[in-house]
């Protein structure tokens, strides 16, 4: 597609439920990132996928968080047993990076998660 697409744009859930957030990157972009942004704060790195390499999961805050990506296409971020502290905007970004070149990210509009 023309841009990075995220769904749902808004999700309200009850504490303890599982949620899935989806990201459709730009076609041909080999790298995909998930970030979390709490209200009024900066971006917190969660996970990074690059091609067929093992993902960098160093930012996932707990084992309730997981993400998958099939090849160089869609990614799903899953949050199990949601807590109120998980309320945030979850931002996905993709990039096309060759070798050691710089990574310039194209962001989606984000998925706003509210846990009641």
């Amino acid at each position: 597609g023309a841009g990075v697409s995220q769904s749902p744009s808004n999700k309200v859930t009850e504490k303890g439920k599982d949620v899935e957030l989806r990201c459709d990157p730009i076609s041909g972009h080999t790298a995909l990132y998930w970030y979390r942004q709490r209200l009024g704060q900066g971006l917190e790195f969660l996970i990074y996928f690059q091609g067929n390499s093992a993902p960098d999961k160093s930012g996932l805050p707990s084992d309730r968080f997981s993400a998958e990506r099939t090849g160089e296409s869609v990614s799903t971020l899953t949050i199990q047993r949601t807590q109120q502290e998980d309320s945030a905007v979850y931002l996905c970004a993709s990039s096309f990076r060759r070798g050691s070149g710089a990574n310039v990210l194209t962001f989606g509009a984000g998925s706003r998660l509210t846990v009641l």
Binding site: A31, Y33, G42, D56, V89, R97, A102, N103, L105, F107
Partner: protein
Amino acid sequence: SQQGEEDPQALSIQEGENATMNCSYKTSINNLQWYRQNSGRGLVHLILIRSNEREKHSGRLRVTLDTSKKSSSLLITASRAADTASYFCATAFTGTASKLTFGTGTRLQVTL
């Protein structure tokens, strides 16, 4: 934390004035980027400066990088109301060039 920090946290200026925001970071970098965010949603890339560059221009934007002080500044000249947004620096640290770490952001308000 490797996260960069911007200052000021918030900046309010009048249209036509220049806006300067700063970013500091802690470890050596491959490159530093500036992004803009409107209304708390997706970010848009503005400009990238590599570690061997000291200054870069793009339209009304001027970015400087001082690797000895581990800091960068973003200057927006002749600001417009439409420049109202949050601005973030993002760094690609040496050795983890694939991972961009974002700062805490500067909220810029440009009034008429």
